[in-house]
């Protein structure tokens, strides 16, 4: 087969197809979105199913259903998406996975497009399953295929951990032959019905397998151990993308230090023991939290060996790794640097597009809230979070998907008035329906603004599940009185009228929902272009 230029995300998608994928499920989230984007692009040639779902929990459970039927399933998400899917994720480790189930989680160290930099390897450890961590594009492809095999060998979900720099970089990938999909093979109810009587048996079984997972990790072709017989002073343990930075930096020196590459979890004990016996001190270089380093050190550290890494400040404990940080940790001299520019370089933060409907919504909202001393706007995850930045400065909170509504309700409970929530249409479908029902039940004194731009804009314009009339009907169906469901069109010419409607609903002491509805300008443009090109 011909080699291809692929994003790390796309290499995973292609690896899954070639591994005999039957169903793939996801919710958009940077940096994982391009996995499903790729699968959707080649859907017609595929013979598999690939769908954007309402949220990551639903996506995970749909994948689980495919696995129950004996077929191979892929579920992909960004790191915080796994928080949403944590319930099925943790429990599925106790089922007897049938068709291979691969959970791809893309972490975002440095928070390029995220609200935290949690490290998903802890989740794999928490669920007591195996995890693979590719360093490059070819490994992203190969390990995805391998992950399906491991999953079917041990009847467990297998995690594939990516990070932004791999997900969103391109390189050459050499694909291999495609394998056929699995035949139907139904799961046994006693292995899938997690009543205590079954769950206890299944959990014991999972615990019994732990030593075998360690052995499997030790035998994994993806780990590598290179010992330098001449110099035992320092050895480096590296995993994932950090391994590339280490190779980049040590490539300059004549003699490479001993290097253990870890690509498979639980940790390969045998290689680590050999490595520790060989070297006097160790530098651990890993992207994310000090996951490997923390396990090596335990509570008291290792007698007579020094372990350097993020925990002792050799590398920064926050933010994304970069080659020059590895250089510094290895105590190599910094390269000569160009003089910094003599002028102040004004920052260029992301911003709402020209003509964005959210901008008109925030202008109207700001105009109204000026007349209240204590107004708070609880917002959510999406393009409209950029309303927090100047010139709008219209947002007080952004925590997680759906929290705008529940926090506005809690804020109202605490006495905040006006308590306003701002959420997008897709985020509302993802995690907003349940908190709105909670607010309906007590007729909470709050105003919820649903900014309906008819797309999942921030991640590149994926389809939304609740927009327009369907969104309206859902709000009605949850029990919001129709007289307090108002629809506005966020346009500059409607500023005064929209402000008037917002004022009326704030002055009404009870629950109101304002649907601010206008299509994303990027989508309008995209559609016009498609029509022009026929």
């Amino acid at each position: 087969m011909k080699s291809e230029v692929l994003l790390g995300d796309e290499a995973v998608a292609l690896g899954a197809i070639h591994a005999g994928l039957s169903g793939a499920y996801s919710y958009p989230g940077t940096p994982a979105s391009e996995i499903m984007e790729y699968l959707r692009r080649v859907l017609n040639e595929g013979g598999f199913k690939a769908a954007w779902c309402i949220n990551e929990k639903v996506a995970y459970e749909e994948a689980l259903g495919v696995s129950f039927a004996g077929k191979r399933a892929l579920v992909s998400m960004k790191h915080v998406g796994l928080n949403v899917a944590a319930d099925p994720f943790m429990n599925s480790a106790l089922t007897r996975i049938g068709g291979g189930l691969v959970v791809v989680v893309a972490d975002d160290p440095g928070m390029h497009s995220s609200q935290n930099e949690q490290d998903s390897r802890f989740y794999a450890q928490y669920a007591r399953i195996m995890c693979l961590e590719p360093a490059d594009h070819q490994e992203a492809y190969d390990m995805t295929r391998a992950a399906f095999d491991i999953s079917e060998q041990w009847n467990i979900p297998v995690m594939l951990r990516l990070v932004t720099r791999l997900s969103h970089s391109r390189s050459r990938v050499q694909p291999r032959e495609t394998r056929a999909q699995n035949q139907m093979k139904y799961g046994e109810p006693r292995d899938w019905t997690l009543l205590p009587v079954n769950a206890r048996r299944r959990f014991s079984r999972l615990m019994e397998k732990q030593d075998e997972f360690v052995k499997a990790s030790e035998e994994s072709e993806f780990n590598s151990l290179d010992l330098n017989a001449d110099d035992r002073s320092l050895g480096i343990i590296a995993s994932g993308i950090a391994y590339n930075y280490v190779r980049e930096i040590i490539g300059e020196s004549k003699a490479s230090p001993s290097l253990l590459k870890i690509a498979c979890y639980p940790l390969p004990l045998r290689q680590i023991t050999t490595f520790f016996d060989h070297v006097d001190s160790v530098l651990v270089v890993e992207e994310g939290y000090p996951f490997i380093e923390g396990q090596l050190k335990g509570l008291f550290g290792i007698q007579e060996k020094t372990v350097h890494g993020k925990l002792d400040g050799s590398l920064p404990i926050t933010g994304e790794l970069q080659p020059h940080l590895v250089r510094k940790a290895l105590k190599l001299d910094a390269l000569p640097q160009k003089e910094a520019p003599g002028i102040t370089l004004a920052g260029r933060p992301p911003q709402l597009c020209q003509g964005c409907p959210h901008a008109d919504t925030f202008r109207a909202l700001n105009q109204v809230l000026e007349s209240y001393a204590q107004a708070n706007v609880f917002s959510d995850i999406g393009c409209y979070t950029l309303g927090a930045l100047p010139p709008y400065s219209a947002v007080d909170t952004c925590v997680c998907m759906g929290a705008s509504i529940s926090m506005a309700k809690g804020g109202a409970d605490a006495g905040i008035y006006p308590s306003v929530g701002v959420i997008g249409d897709s985020t509302f479908a993802h995690s907003g329906l349940t908190p709105l029902l909670d607010a309906v039940l007590v007729d909470s004194n709050m105003v919820l603004v649903i900014v309906d731009n008819a797309t999942v804009a921030m991640t590149g314009g994926q389809p939304t599940a609740l927009s327009g009339d369907r969104l309206y009907q859902a709000v009605v169906g949850l029990g919001v009185p129709e007289v307090h469901i108002r629809i506005i069109t966020p346009l500059p010419k409607n500023l005064a009228a929209n402000a008037q409607i917002i004022t009326e609903e704030i002055e009404y002491h009870g629950l109101s929902v304002i649907i601010s509805s206008r299509e994303c300008v990027q989508e309008t443009r995209k559609r016009a272009k498609q029509e022009r090109q026929g």
């Binding site: 020059h324 640097q337 370089l345 004004a346 393009c383």
Partner: protein, 192 residues
């Protein structure tokens, strides 16, 4: 033989199109390459950059180490200055002189250009005028790719092949515009 290039610009200026052409030309030329880019929130009108690494030996790091880029190729002058800490002492800067002003505190253009000139190896191109001459102000990215082309170790023919391939779905006229933009950029850089 290696070439490390920082591509810079503002979200929407088409630096990923430049990357597409170079990536595919590199693949066809049998070179190893890695190219890290920015998606998601940062793309919305913010500063964007891409690390592009070409080599006939294995490329390890997705990111170019600081102080070792051979070139900064920027579609916007202020953005070219943002990454000078990545530039090697002998590295060159190929940049547009057309500012993209979407922030209130954009510095004086003359000061920006002065800083660029003080870097030593800067090729500064009027990408807006040349793109207009080629037929579309949107073709500034291809003007800049043309301006950098003589310094890349990829053949003109390969680059032109993938410009054609990239714009082919948009019709012959747009293909011609971008090929001309590339040529005008190349000539402008040669006469600098």
């Amino acid at each position: 033989m290696k070439q490390d290039i920082i591509l810079a610009g503002v979200g929407g200026q088409g630096i990923l199109s430049i990357a597409y052409v170079i990536d595919n030309a590199a693949l066809k030329a049998g070179l190893n390459f890695k190219q890290a880019e920015v998606h998601g929130m940062a793309q919305r009108g913010g500063a964007v950059q891409s690390h592009l690494r070409l080599s006939d030996e294995p490329v390890f790091s997705e990111l170019i180490p600081r102080s070792s880029a051979d070139m900064i190729l920027s579609v916007e002058p202020l953005e070219a200055l943002r990454y000078t800490d990545y530039l090697a002492p002998e590295g060159i800067v190929v940049t547009s002189r057309t500012p993209f002003v979407n922030i209130p505190d954009y510095p004086e253009l003359d000061e920006v250009l002065e800083e660029l000139r003080s870097l030593g190896n800067a090729v500064i191109i009027d990408s807006e005028a040349l793109a207009k001459e080629a037929g579309s102000v949107r073709a500034q990215n291809m003007v800049m790719l043309g301006a950098a082309s003589d310094s890349l170790f990829l053949s003109q023919d390969l680059l032109l092949e993938f410009i054609r391939e990239l714009f082919d779905p948009k019709g012959d006229k747009i293909v011609e515009t971008n090929l001309l933009a590339f040529e005008l950029g190349r000539k402008a850089a040669a006469s600098e």
